[in-house]
Amino acid sequence: MKRFADLNLRAPIEDMNKTENMVRKASELGYSLVAIPLPFNIAKEQISQLRKLCSEEKLHFAARVTFAPKSSNELLQSLRRYRRKFEVIAVRCDTKDVARQAAKDRRVDLLQFSVTSLRKRFFDEAEAELASQALASLEIELAPLLQLTSISRVRLLSRLTREVATATRFKVPVTVTSGATEELLMRGPHDYAALTTLFDMRLSSALGTLSDNPWGIVERNRKKLSADYVAPGIRVVGRLADD
């Protein structure tokens, strides 16, 4: 049985009641992992509180941060500072410079692009080639697809169809997330999979974008963040007691 994940549940963490309701809803809808975007300066106690809240609903929790840097230098600085604090790192690419840097950096997990300004979506062939050699995955948020109407939705669908085809051609993994800011925008994983067929994704791959790909990102990062991790392929398997 597939384990589904939502790597972008935008719950308002300042309102714990609302967050609790959204986490409960995610559990009811059949997710087994949620990642909530958090501010950089969040205290570790608050992360533990969210982890506890999710475990009460039998959900795994992953701490996520979304960087929106103005330049590639700013992105590098943020990655250096915060990579070890969060399990999922997403980069909002609003300039080409940032998009290219994020695509080739192995510390970036998700590449996010604007949904309102399509000129700022830089996921072209060059970007896909860079991403295919690193670990970054293309993030597709589905809440905007539900909120947009008429021509803006048509344009977004058309752009997503093109981007998914490019990602498939260059073997860049795609991760579908909800991006839901409230309960009414949340949908079940099978519903999201059906929505992804609107941009010509096969149903089997669509289910993978909601389960295998996000779980792969979180498990890979959890291994790297564990105290036993040394380098790729090297980890501590046991420690000898000091005499």
Partner: protein
């Protein structure tokens, strides 16, 4: 002999501030199908209301099995029901009403 069209039965639940009528839900989903797939798509979907399980707060609709994914996408993209903000969630899908009620009871 003409082959009988296969159907899929879908159990739906609606989340809104005030519970809407089943016709309003069906209209909202029909409008969503129309918006996403046009008149041709709507005709292929052949969406119909089967029954309203009021005691459980569920609505059962049926559609052509060939258009199941389109109907699912349309259900997921429904955000306005009877002029009010809401959402429609699918609880289960099956080829027979008997199997559907078994499925939704176990969930």
């Amino acid at each position: 002999m003409i082959k009988r069209e296969k159907r899929r039965y879908l159990a739906l639940t609606v989340v809104t501030e005030q519970p809407p009528s089943e016709e309003a839900v069906l209209d909202a989903v029909q409008a969503s199908i129309h918006r996403l797939f046009g008149e041709y798509g709507a005709s292929r979907a052949n969406l119909r209301l089967i029954k309203n399980r009021t005691e459980k707060g569920q609505i059962v609709v049926c559609c052509s099995h060939k258009a199941l994914e389109q109907v699912r996408a349309a259900i997921a993209s429904t955000t306005v029901i009877d002029g009010k903000v809401g959402a429609v969630h699918m609880l289960g899908v099956s080829g027979t009403l008997k199997a559907l009620s078994k499925k939704t009871e176990t969930n």
